[in-house]
């Protein structure tokens, strides 16, 4: 099968359009992601489970940043958690894009993490962040068990990282 050496500007533009939609809301990718035949997806009619994992990671990052208001003495640890959960969200989004057939290199980096744009409700406590991270750890581990290959490894690694955030950073 011949492969075009020079990518046509139209396809590149449309790739950017898809990528732009992804950066605004990952749910935009849900349908197209569901159509790809990734070996790890059991039900191809379901949205990519990594989309909600990415959203959870971004929410945790925002919670960690917001928790600094009530626990400024933990600002260092909280910023590490925000940064790690942001990295998790980026890696998950990149894999969602790859599975959906969007060129990851053409994809602008997703919305900045840890900076909630809308006015936030009362700042979360450290205990609330802990509870949230415990749920995220468990969910990521459960997803790792059900997926396979790179996706399972990524989710397992993320689950392990979130465990260490709770046990060592929030000690």
């Amino acid at each position: 099968m011949p492969v075009a050496v020079t990518p046509s500007p139209i396809s590149r533009r449309s790739a950017f359009r898809i990528a732009g939609a992804a950066s605004v809301g990952l749910t935009a990718l849900a349908l197209s992601a569901g159509c790809t035949s990734d070996s790890s997806d059991r039900d191809s009619s379901e949205p990519d489970p990594l989309i909600s994992a990415a959203e959870t990671a971004r929410r945790d990052a925002a919670t960690a940043t917001a928790a600094t208001a009530l626990a400024p003495e933990r600002a260092g640890a909280l910023s590490v958690i925000a940064s790690e959960r942001g990295a998790h969200a980026d890696a998950l989004s990149a894999e969602v894009a790859r599975a959906a057939g969007v060129d990851p290199t053409a994809m602008p980096s997703p919305s900045p993490t840890g900076s909630a744009t809308e006015p936030a409700p009362p700042p979360p406590t450290i205990d609330e962040l802990r509870t949230q991270l415990a749920t995220s750890q468990r969910d990521a581990a459960g997803l790792a068990r059900r997926l396979s290959g790179y996706r399972a490894g990524l989710l397992g690694s993320i689950s392990a990282a979130v465990a260490a955030e709770q046990a060592v950073l929030l000690l």
């Binding site: 396979s148 690694s157 392990a160 465990a163 950073l169």
Partner: protein, 152 residues
């Protein structure tokens, strides 16, 4: 690391588990050295971690044996990545050992063919990430955690 075992007949999961077992054998050996050179104040953590590696080693031997695979034995000796001469280098070795085993267990997650094996590997990776972060915190590494444990 070069053992002429009949690896060609192993499936991906069994190969990954065999590699993880080799990493656990090396970890058990290394923790002996770590205990010998460490500050006595750290012996509690070291004993706990060494026991965890022995338990993981034994469970992995059982899993391989149950799958009809001859589990690789420990080597008679191991070369450390750097000289261990004092309490600091002992803890640095502990951190390095945990990083090595993390890579091995993440690989098991990726190559596992059953949920049971993936669950065991996620547990093993999580435990090793916790120990690694603990040792790096003791070493004063900032930050003590990494975003993707087991990513080589």
């Amino acid at each position: 690391m070069t053992s002429p075992s009949p690896t060609s007949s192993l499936g991906p999961e069994q190969q990954a588990l065999s590699d993880a077992l080799r990493a656990e054998h090396a970890a058990v050996y290394a923790y002996g050295l770590i205990a010998a050179f460490s500050n006595p104040a750290r012996i509690g953590d070291i004993t706990t971690d060494a026991a965890a590696h022995r338990a993981r080693r034994d469970a992995t031997i059982d899993a391989l044996t149950a799958a009809g695979v001859r589990a690789p034995a420990a080597e008679s000796g191991y070369t450390m990545p750097f000289p261990v001469v004092d309490p600091i280098s002992a803890i640095q070795l502990a951190a390095a050992v945990e990083a090595d085993t993390a890579v091995a267990w993440r690989s098991v997650i990726e190559r596992a063919e059953s949920e049971h094996t993936r669950q065991a590997a996620v547990d093993a990776l999580t435990e090793t990430a916790l120990r690694a972060a603990n040792w790096r915190a003791i070493l004063g590494t900032a930050p003590p955690t990494v975003p993707f444990p087991g990513q080589p």
